[in-house]
Amino acid sequence: MSEMKKIPLILDGDPGHDDAIAWTIAHASGRFDILACTAAAGNTTVEKTLYNALRVCTLIGLRVPVAGGCPHPLLTDLMVAPSVHGESGLDGPALPEPAFAPENIPSVELMARVIRACPDKVTIVSTGPMTNTAALLLSYPELKDRIERVSMMGGGLGFGNWTPAAEFNILVDPDAAKIVFESGVPIMMAGLDVTEKALILPQDFERIRAQGTAVSDVVWQWLEFFYTFHKNIGYAGAPMHDPCAVMALIHPEVFTMRDYYVQIETNGEYCRGATVADWYGTLGKKPNVTAIVDVDRDAFADRLVALIGRYKEMGA
């Protein structure tokens, strides 16, 4: 794996337990040249997600520039999800205080800076509302062609979660999602269609706990915390929504993917935030999305456990 060229990457998310696990496996994989982390408003406010981002990077030993993003969606007020992630946005185990300061520029400037400085096209992993990426495309349209793709967690081709029609990340900022989906930048979409199947089960928690590193200890407690909310609404395990967007770049072989033309509903009484796939090609449009629709759950879980296990060698 070390001989493969590393993928230059920006991690944009709203950590958040599953964002934090996504970043943890991204760093462990060695497959990426992580250029920056940017915090989005979503699961909680951007002040809190920035603080969480710095704590997560400190925990996993990822020392890259970190910046805070847009404080609210493009056109609306922020809606947060304390029921899932707690008041801090990352409740559960104690985390180290940030060992370094954030960049003194907004996320859109940091993204633009690292993209310009990178000789290769940059991949953006977006695991929160897509406000920061939309802001980048609006502010620096000339950088569009420097983006390899956006691998995102959000939406659901078959159904929603926060409303029957919409998934949380898209629902928070459908207008931003529409801008990104219509931009022409290739999208890899980990929607609820797959992420609800990418469950980490209680027996997997134990495998992670047994690794006995500082990181695995925290990941195990994140999983326990995240699972408590989901167990109460009938899940057999913790759905690894955001890690799918990273795993799809590391181990695409565990997923089933299909290309669709996908639009975002930004209006509607009930459907705002819906990701609408043109299943039958009725609209005659070229696909803009590679949608991840299924996962080999056991293979996914094994790989996730193994990636977290790498912190033994990494000494964290």
């Binding site: 159904f159 409303t163 029609a165 639009q263 509903e265 009930y270 459907c271 705002r272 819906a274 609408v276």
Partner: protein, 311 residues
Amino acid sequence: MNRMPIWMDCDTGTDDAVAIMLAHALPELEIKGISAVCGNAEQEKTYWNTQRVIGLVGARYPVYRGAERPLMKPLTTAAHAHGQNGLGGVELPVPADAAVPELPAWDALYECARQYPGELRLIATAPLTNIAIAFTKHPDLPGLLRDMLVMGGSAGRGNITPAAEFNFFVDPHAASVVFRSGVKLTMCGLDVTLQAYLTRAQLDGFAASGTRVGRFVSECTRPGRKLVEKFGLPGFSMHDCCPVMFAAHPELFGGEMAGVVIETRGDITSGKSVTDLYSDKQFPFKNAFVVLKLDRERFISILTERLLSLG
């Protein structure tokens, strides 16, 4: 056998035609009246097509005229699926003795419901414009019906647009009126109706039966078969036969109660039947039985046997 009184509201339409013939042929059901509405074709066509179809099977049912346009938007028709005449290009004669009652659909349905309070089952296989007008004009009508069975909507994918099924897309506002009405509702959406298909070989079997009805079923599906090929479907779906079969043979179907609302304001989702089967925060109501499963083999077997029994 005590036949259950039913009312049919149709935009006839190829599969509406087959649904009417099926209802006529099922011994469990007794048609008390049929109303026509615009949809697959203009109301003028769907009205006379309905008369033609009951003429073909030698039946005498009163057929009432209904709405010529959706409540609030211009009409979209489906000539691509049902042919210009609505019957897949099959020419059938209008019965010489066809009578055109004075009463409009919404009042005729209401009178019938009052005649069979708590018994009448309303089967709608069309945009719900007539029913929305009836429910609005006669607010006690939903409570007078035993129940209502609809072909329309989808818990998942659409057909006329990626998000919406044709009947609800044509008149989303009318569908919204019905789903808010409190009527006891069974929704046969694309989730189940796409399972209710006849294969090419089964359609050829109808043609080879040598019966008038068999020939009609095979012939009228010709324009639709092209769509079947285009979309890679396993056969020609008898969408509108599903609520009719459900009324007589509910044991062939499976589903669950769910909250269903109709999107009327979306840019790309207008007419979507938003069905709350999976969300974390459930709607605080369950207003429809959403049909999701079908014993296809038995469905096709009963459908075929009953239709061919008509000769």
